[in-house]
């Protein structure tokens, strides 16, 4: 049996997927969720094999929810209209269904399912591609102690590399996100966030002063009273960004 969760905020949209799935005896629907928070909880709890996921949902989008899932199930996206997302799907060969969902298209997705169940890489590629779009880059969704937190990027003081994670320092404390520094360097607004060091990206608005520590080595002081090292190339970037 393929254990499946449906995540969509519109009951009728879930109904239609359920209706189509009733012909596929190998599928067992173990939960239905109407937003990303519920979806995340259900996925963590039930560890499904497959999810049907809408993108535009209350609170957090389907993409943002998926980013927080550690052990990702196979995903079939369902969406009505989202120009950017559809482009990301097409490029990254993830299965997606456009609403209103066509029966034969749905059956085709189900036929391809055995293949999808074992490969999750393309889902990650879609998430990365979508995160690069400006529509998503004004906030970061993180999980801490089982609670989902939506951080507006302006609230981030600085980011620090920490093994496989990136630590986001905000006024409300530190949060961890399973991404790379390069990812944040690319997605965050380059006019506001500067990579000053291999391990640090800072929010320009937080800079209070820059000091020469020793020859060719600078340090920067943030409003939160933290000193961070600045590399040589980082210093050059910082200077241009501040217009010095």
């Amino acid at each position: 049996m393929i254990r499946t969760i449906l995540i969509d905020d519109e009951p009728l949209a879930r109904d239609i997927v359920k209706y189509y799935l009733s012909e596929h005896k190998e599928i067992e629907i173990i939960a239905e969720c109407c937003d990303g928070f519920e979806g995340l909880k259900a996925i963590t709890q039930h560890k499904p094999d497959l999810i049907f996921l809408d993108i535009q949902m209350p609170k957090i989008s389907g993409f943002e929810m998926l980013e927080l899932v550690e052990d990702k199930p196979a995903v079939i996206f369902t969406t009505a209209f989202d120009e950017f997302a559809i482009k990301a799907f097409e490029v990254n060969a993830v299965d997606y269904l456009l609403k209103p969902i066509d029966k034969s298209r749905f059956d085709l997705a189900m036929q391809k399912l055995p293949l999808r169940l074992n490969q999750k890489e393309s889902t990650d590629a879609v998430l990365d591609a979508v995160a690069m779009s400006s529509a998503q880059s004004n906030r970061v969704v993180v999980k801490k102690d089982g609670i989902i937190k939506i951080i507006p990027v302006a609230d981030i003081n600085y980011l620090e590399a920490d093994d496989d994670y990136v630590k986001l320092s905000t006024t409300e404390g530190a949060f961890y996100k399973n991404k790379t520094m390069a990812f944040f360097e690319q997605t965050l607004d380059a006019g506001q966030f500067i990579r000053i060091h291999r391990s640090y990206i800072i929010n320009l608005a937080q800079v209070t002063k820059i000091e020469l520590k020793e020859k060719d080595s600078y340090v920067v002081l943030l409003k939160s009273d933290i000193w961070l090292p600045v590399s040589k190339t980082g210093y050059a970037k910082l200077k241009t960004a501040l217009g010095l």
């Binding site: 905020d9 519109e10 009951p11 009728l12 949209a13 109904d15 239609i16 209706y19 109407c34 937003d35 928070f37 519920e38 535009q56 209350p58 609170k59 009505a80 209209f81 989202d82 456009l98 609403k99 209103p100 969902i101 004004n138 906030r139 939506i150 951080i151 507006p152």
Partner: protein
């Protein structure tokens, strides 16, 4: 900035080849026809033509800065003439200075002086006119390009407007709901299809310029809300109160809908709880009051990005009534967001309808 003819590589190549050929031709003419030595022939040809080339280049560059209007073309010929005098006298004195001892050459030079002048003037004049033509054509193609890009921009804006009007996200989601209804509840599906059709018809009919009656506008809004209610039946409650005396009043056709859309977007799309959206329409001192109330999640507001996006409506109101205060928003305790739209009623607008 227009490109200069002399900055085009192809023209550069051709002109250089042409100049060299001309210099050689002149020298050969002097040598074979008038029987001067090669040295004299070449020196004469090189100096005379070099000055001519310099004059041609300077006239071409000058025209790059200033292109005469139709009636001023004559000035260009006068300038060419003046330049001609400058260069032929320069050539004359330098050549006669170099070849002071050659009586033959001096006689020949003095004899040929007027012809040299004529040829130089013709060259310069032709060069000037060719340049004027070039710049004119350049200007024209540039203008064409500008026109084309303006047209493209206008087209794009139109397309964007249409796309926005049709709200594809809303449309496709609604279609999906209708589709589901056809299986679950065919009767309801029929009702929804007709509502969707009426709503779309209303959308296409909308015009920024047009004023509509409250009755008409509220019918349209009601259709929109009904469709949303089918999509989110379990959690959308709508309360609409329209006082009788407002039904015949008027308002600009595209103001209320975006406000209600906002209420839905922030009230409904941003939460998964059941919510109530309340719309009150009243009239007071000849001012039509439209009050839209929706709950919102204060946590989501900070991350909503563009906020409540009412700036465009404010701008339109200002353009229509020259008053900044017709759109007001307030946040009440227990997280209720209230948008109030005030439309001053002018007598003439009501009578025309």
């Amino acid at each position: 900035m227009t490109t200069r003819p002399l900055s085009v590589p192809q023209i550069q190549k051709i002109s250089i080849a042409f100049a060299i050929a001309w210099i050689i031709l002149c020298a050969a003419g002097l040598h074979y026809v008038v029987n001067f030595s090669w040295v004299i022939s070449f020196t004469d040809s090189v100096i005379t033509n070099f000055l001519l080339i310099v004059a041609c280049i300077s006239i071409s560059n000058m025209l790059g800065y200033y292109q005469p209007k139709n009636e001023r073309v004559l000035y260009v010929l006068i300038i060419s003439l003046a330049l001609t005098f400058v260069i032929i006298y320069l050539a004359k004195y330098s050549l006669l200075f170099i070849f002071t001892d050659f009586k033959n050459y001096q006689d020949f030079y003095n004899f040929s002086f007027p012809f040299r002048g004529l040829i130089s003037f013709m060259c310069l004049g032709w060069c000037a006119l060719a340049n004027i033509l070039w710049y004119r054509l350049e200007e024209q193609s540039e203008m064409q390009g500008r026109l084309l890009s303006t047209q493209n921009l206008a087209k794009e804006a139109e397309l964007n407007k249409l796309r926005h009007q049709l709200q594809p996200h809303f449309l496709f989601n609604s279609l999906n709901s209708v589709f589901a209804l056809t299986m679950v509840n065919p009767k309801e599906a029929g009702v929804m299809i007709t509502k969707l059709a009426s709503f779309l018809r209303g959308t296409l009919k909308r015009d920024d310029e047009l004023w509509v009656s409250v009755e008409e506008e509220m019918e349209y809004i009601q259709l929109y809300l009904d469709i949303e209610k089918v999509r989110f039946s379990h959690r959308l409650n709508i309360e609409v109160n329209i006082s009788e005396d407002t039904l015949n009043l008027c308002l600009p056709g595209t103001l209320l809908q975006p406000i209600v859309e906002n209420a839905i977007k922030f009230g409904l799309y941003n939460t998964s709880a059941g919510i109530t959206i309340k719309i009150d329409v009243t009239v007071e001192n000849d001012i039509l009051n439209l009050r839209v109330q929706n709950p919102f999640d204060p946590e989501m507001k900070a991350t909503g990005g563009t906020g409540f996006g009412l700036t465009a409506i404010k701008r339109r109101l200002y353009l229509l009534f020259a008053n900044q205060n017709l759109l007001q928003t307030e946040i009440e305790a227990n997280n209720l967001y209230i948008t109030t739209l005030k439309i001053p009623q002018k007598d003439d607008q009501n009578h025309t309808n």
